[in-house]
């Protein structure tokens, strides 16, 4: 049995009076790729942001390996340094080139010497296929390249897991492929990932496990074969048929 990297228990989150997450439980094992799908506004992104506490949670616990990170005395900065986060809108630091974007966390958070940080950063940029673009600034890169730099930025910190918040939703269709390819390779290399996405092809072929979220609760969870072939809930079936219909139309 693989080691549990992340455990979420009874997580609740409200914005004002609106309950966005209503008691979510799940676990992620080492090396696993967990894909979260569901309609817009169902709480998928909020869930990710609650895991590394970019949003404060109202109730519930989150464990990273054996450590409960929702306790109040925990140094959340140290925890965040070991949880990668890839944003929908990339959020690369605009005033830094690709190399500095990747190594700034190593130097300023992990306090690694510049020389060593540079080596690691170049290595990670090569890993996402951007070894030739290390001196480019974000505004000089395409959306797909920017997202790959942001994946390298997450990888450089050698995180225990990486959270992907709709990493391809802001991209032009022809740029989605290069980002998915990087993610597929990471999955193969055994990087632990939680991916919120609408890319059903990716979900089907890469996910070890799929979670379907609607109205802030997990409606269904299981391997892609099960979810796609015989979903237990009508809502899951409806959502999947709508999405696949859309993809079908795109293909025409």
């Amino acid at each position: 049995m693989a080691q549990t990297v992340l455990k979420v228990e009874n997580l609740h989150k409200s914005y004002g009076k609106v309950q966005v997450i209503k008691g979510i439980n799940f676990e992620v094992k080492k090396g696993e790729t967990k894909v979260i799908i569901g309609p817009s506004g169902s709480g998928k992104s909020t869930l990710l942001r609650c895991i590394n506490q970019l949003d404060r949670i109202d109730k519930g616990q989150v464990w990273l390996e054996d450590l409960e990170i929702t306790k109040s005395h925990i140094d959340i900065n140290q925890i965040r340094a070991s949880i990668g986060f890839v944003f929908q809108s990339f959020n690369l630091f605009t005033h830094l080139n690709a190399l500095d974007n990747v190594r700034i966390g190593l130097m300023r958070v992990k306090r690694i010497k510049e020389e060593d940080a540079t080596k690691i950063a170049i290595e990670e940029l090569k890993r996402v296929g951007l070894g030739g673009k290390i001196h480019n600034y974000p505004a000089q890169l395409s959306g797909g390249q920017q997202q790959r730099v942001s994946i390298a930025r997450a990888l450089a910190m050698s995180p225990k897991l990486i959270l992907f918040d709709e990493p391809t939703s802001a991209l032009d269709p022809e740029l989605i492929g290069e980002v998915l390819e990087v993610m597929i390779n990471l999955a193969k290399e055994g990087v632990t990932m939680i991916v919120v996405t609408h890319e059903m092809g990716f979900a089907r072929s890469v996910a070890n496990d799929i979670i379907f979220i609607d109205y802030g609760t997990i409606l269904e969870e299981g391997p892609p074969g099960e979810i796609f072939k015989k979903p237990k809930h009508k809502r899951t079936a409806k959502f999947l048929s709508k999405i696949t219909q859309l993809e079908g139309e795109k293909a025409k």
Partner: protein, 214 residues
């Protein structure tokens, strides 16, 4: 001589204004209610709402009646330096607020504390954005150094007055020369700031020049 003193005064005012203006701006944007309402806003509003000459008199003659005997230079530095801090803080605040919130989130997501995020991610971007408005502030402060004449500091204006008094009647000529000297100093400084703006611009981030040639 007088023009050198004017430049020195301006640098001192701007320097103090910068050192105090940055924390004021950061406090106004990121501070809690307590910091914002009890520390930042009173300072900013006080120094922005009172005319410079009144501030100078308050810090020099006013303070001395409270047995705080500032030298003319010290009084001028406090009055004009904090006044500039109030204005600079608003320049920086605007710049900080114009930065996408995703920058802060990304910085926090790799484990930076709020302080580190501000120091390494937010301020380097905000300061670049601030340069054009800051060059305005520079021009204002430099020209306003002429006001400290009222405290008896021998800067450019007072020197001009002395020369007029000694040579009887060359007023128009002397003041035209004063005006020219101010003009040249301000102009050179603005040019220097333009140069810095160009030097530190973020590649690819500037508004692309429209090229419509066939």
């Amino acid at each position: 001589m007088g023009s050198l003193i004017s430049i020195e005064l301006a640098l001192a005012f701007l320097g103090l204004g910068f050192i105090v203006g940055i924390p004021l701006a950061v406090g106004e944007v990121y501070g809690n209610k307590f910091v914002k309402n009890l520390a930042v806003l009173p300072v900013v509003e006080f120094f922005r709402s009172i005319p410079a000459l009144v501030l100078l008199f308050l810090f020099y003659f006013g303070a001395s009646s409270l047995n705080l005997n500032f030298s003319p230079f010290m009084a001028a530095l406090l009055a004009m330096g904090f006044r500039s801090a109030a204005y600079q803080s608003q320049i920086f605040r605007g710049a900080i607020k114009s930065i996408d919130t995703g920058q802060m989130q990304a910085a926090r997501s790799i484990g930076m504390s709020k302080f580190k995020a501000i120091r390494y991610i937010i301020l380097p971007q905000a300061l670049r954005i601030s340069i054009p408005s800051w060059s305005n502030e520079y021009a204002c402060v430099l020209k306003d150094t002429s006001l400290v004449y009222a405290l008896g500091i021998t800067e450019l204006m007072r020197q001009g007055r002395y020369i007029v008094a000694r040579t009887f009647g060359n007023a128009i000529l002397v003041y035209i020369i004063c005006a020219l000297i101010y003009f040249v100093i301000v102009h050179l400084g603005v040019k220097l700031l333009d140069f810095l703006e160009e030097k530190y611009k973020i590649p690819g981030y500037e508004i692309k020049k429209i090229t419509t040639r066939a």
